[in-house]
Symmetry: C2
Subunit: 433 residues, 2 copies
């Protein structure tokens, strides 16, 4: 069943529906935890999930479908479209821990997914569902990562058309290349992300296309597995905190839903806290948090290098506000300088992240300074996309070419003559003979 | 031990040495297959490798270190630097098989590694070895992927310095961003790749830096696992062919070494054949193959969109020639148009590959047309890097902006007004109400 996150009204899951008839709130999948509890004890679920790690076979080798009983068991295995997404690493190397002065920090690197962002986890479920309900077209509005993922999954399904609405000139060209290369119809609209969403909503009310933005409750189910898989990697010993960047607020909602369900299933014995991080240029959830979630704030999103979270009216606002309260969470905001310096700091430890993930790291550091997160606490920072999608801003940073930013971690390339002497001079190696 | 691939002379493995004193040929690791055969039966090795899949724990969760007894067992587990590289997918979706008209084709996507290329498999071994022998600095000359990988692994080791020599203005800026971001000293030399190699060789003869180019026999051991892991994924039923792009010829050598050893260990009961694919602009191995490997040809490498294999004097020529002969192999060459069209064809099936991988696909198609590879044969195409590293040429292709190329699979972005009507017109959805 689908359940309204506002009034609790319920709808059959096979109906194509994104909002409640009664109150217009978003819907969520009402996972049948009771059935799971009856089927297996917590220790038996843990054994099953662990056993499925041991094979290359689809779909259970996927870090999403490993948890299929928990993630849309309504989809028959033979309809699943998977790229064996997930099973992403949890980085905690020595240079990283030193650089962040954090002995128990982990980076869950969702950039190491097939299309290089966490969106793959949702899309494997969303596109499988589209196939299951025999949809002929899927659509999304996207600042980049969503469209890349939707396009790549849709193009694995014969006869399924993908349509992408992008804000013109507001995504990196690396991100633009992905849906085009995957063969989707890619439309660049003269507006911003919120404008794309408005057109999309008008369009999908009139035409039989399946919407795969994060308002889609089915897709969110896949994204739950970021937290669930992290718990499994930590052998079901929950960390003290998850820190996650927030744009449209779908991912923090999904993370929260997964953690709460894990607790209800008895897989963990206490709940981690959760910190959402926004950019100053697009901080509506932060402002709402500051007013105690008494009212939803919306803003006009300004320029930010973290283009994937440049969103002024988060579609999953209410879901996010709810899980933040349930998980004793906080919301922080960070500026452009802090984002890019934090990204550089993590990059330099051999973990290449995007500016949005840089925001999560910067938010973590700010919460450390404020004493809200302690130095020794076990913290999982969620990196949402791979740095390779943002080569231009990375290079510009290291060349000191980002306006308004003084790069504290700049490491520019050095042009040099092609001689032994030049290399010796540049490296400081002195010839002894 | 290290063994000379020319005269067979042997050297202690702990000596830092890349070539033979006697005959100047490259060295290779003399894997102790006898010890492996004594330790376990083939079925027991298979069980062990399968069992190790079932955990997230480093190092055995890595697709390289899963085979540690086979891959530098001399490195103690605690010295291993791993990003859990490998375990890359073997794509064989319906749209892909249809598009290539190949019912039993697989793409082994090495682009889905931490730094987005197959080089991670070699670098986890090379950098672990550098740490084991207490090296203070590692160096490589690189067209991009090698430096990205070396930098990312080196920056996980406290006190290990990374130095990168790049040919100035001859790598994509996506590739340039990687070593810089990882904090390596990145030197852009006024020369081509071969020129960088010359300076590097002079430099490393005089200074105590550990060279991590593919002439390094230790690194090659890690790359062996591309083929080995593929065999495991195919449940040790070898395919008829492996098809692989060839630049410096280290990777084809590594692939061949792994396959031959798998046969010697009794893990497979017959050998697959092997096809190396070069670009017309840089085809020395192809020319040597055509003369029956009677003499090594070198060429001056010309412009190619497959910049990672723009190499005129492959350093691993002799190793490659040997494994091609041992595996009843062939070498093919392909042009720029074929490369980019083949890349677009695979991209459009939701599998994002680089132009070098496009060369492998184009070579496969050419060998199919020539009747050398049959339609129904089981073929593994090795994709060496992720398409995301080559967004510029991808976009230029779809915009019809690559000179000399008529894009057969172009899918340009469509700029559009932000209205319902415009989207209806572009998608062909007609309003019924």
């Amino acid at each position: 069943m689908l359940r309204c996150t506002g009034c609790g009204e319920r709808f059959p899951i096979l109906e194509i529906r994104y909002r409640c008839d009664q109150c217009n709130a978003l819907l969520e999948v009402d996972t049948d935890l009771e059935a799971m509890r009856k089927a297996r004890k917590p220790s038996e679920w843990k054994e099953l999930f662990q056993e499925r790690l041991g094979h290359f076979r689809p779909p259970y080798a996927s870090g999403v479908w490993r948890y299929h009983e928990w993630i849309l068991p309504q989809i028959p295995v033979e309809r699943i479209v998977t790229k064996l997404e997930g099973s992403t690493p949890l980085y905690s190397g020595e240079t990283l821990r030193r650089s962040l002065d954090a002995p128990a920090v982990f980076i869950k690197h969702e950039g190491e997914n097939p299309t290089l962002s966490f969106k793959d986890r949702g899309m494997t479920v969303g596109v499988s569902w589209a196939r299951h309900i025999q949809s002929k077209a899927v659509i999304c509005a996207s600042t980049g990562d969503t469209s890349a993922a939707m396009a790549a999954y849709a193009s694995e399904v014969p006869g399924l058309r993908g349509i992408v609405l992008l804000p013109r000139d507001k995504v990196t060209f690396e991100q633009l290349a992905q849906p085009i290369a995957s063969g989707c119809l890619t439309l660049a609209l003269d507006t911003d992300f919120d404008g794309c969403m408005r057109v999309l909503q008008e369009f999908c009310q009139r035409h039989p296309v399946y919407v795969l933005n994060s308002l889609n409750p089915i897709r969110i189910e896949g994204q739950k597995t970021i937290g669930i898989e992290t718990l499994q990697q930590l052998q079901w010993q929950p960390p003290d905190w998850f820190v996650i960047p927030v744009g449209n607020a779908g991912n923090i909602s999904a993370l929260g839903k997964g953690l709460l369900e894990a607790r209800e299933l008895g897989l963990i014995d206490r709940l981690p806290r959760i910190a959402g991080v926004q950019v100053e240029a697009a901080n509506p959830l932060y402002l709402s948090y500051k007013n105690g979630f008494r009212e939803a704030v919306s803003v006009e999103a300004g320029q930010t290098l973290a283009s994937a979270i440049r969103i002024g009216q988060p579609v999953s606002y209410h879901k996010a506000a709810k899980v933040i309260q349930q998980l004793d969470g906080v919301v922080e905001e960070v500026g452009e300088q802090a984002i890019m310096d934090a990204k550089a700091r993590v990059d330099a430890c051999g973990v290449s992240i995007c500016p949005n993930s840089g925001a999560a790291v910067a938010g973590y550091l700010k919460l450390r300074t404020a004493g809200i997160i302690g130095r020794d606490e076990r913290v999982v920072l969620i990196a949402t996309a791979h740095g390779a999608k943002f080569s231009q801003s990375t290079l510009d940073y290291h060349r000191s070419e980002l306006s308004g930013i003084t790069p504290r971690g700049a490491n520019p390339v050095q042009p040099l003559a092609a001689t032994l002497e030049a290399v010796e001079q540049a490296t400081g190696f002195v010839r002894t003979s």
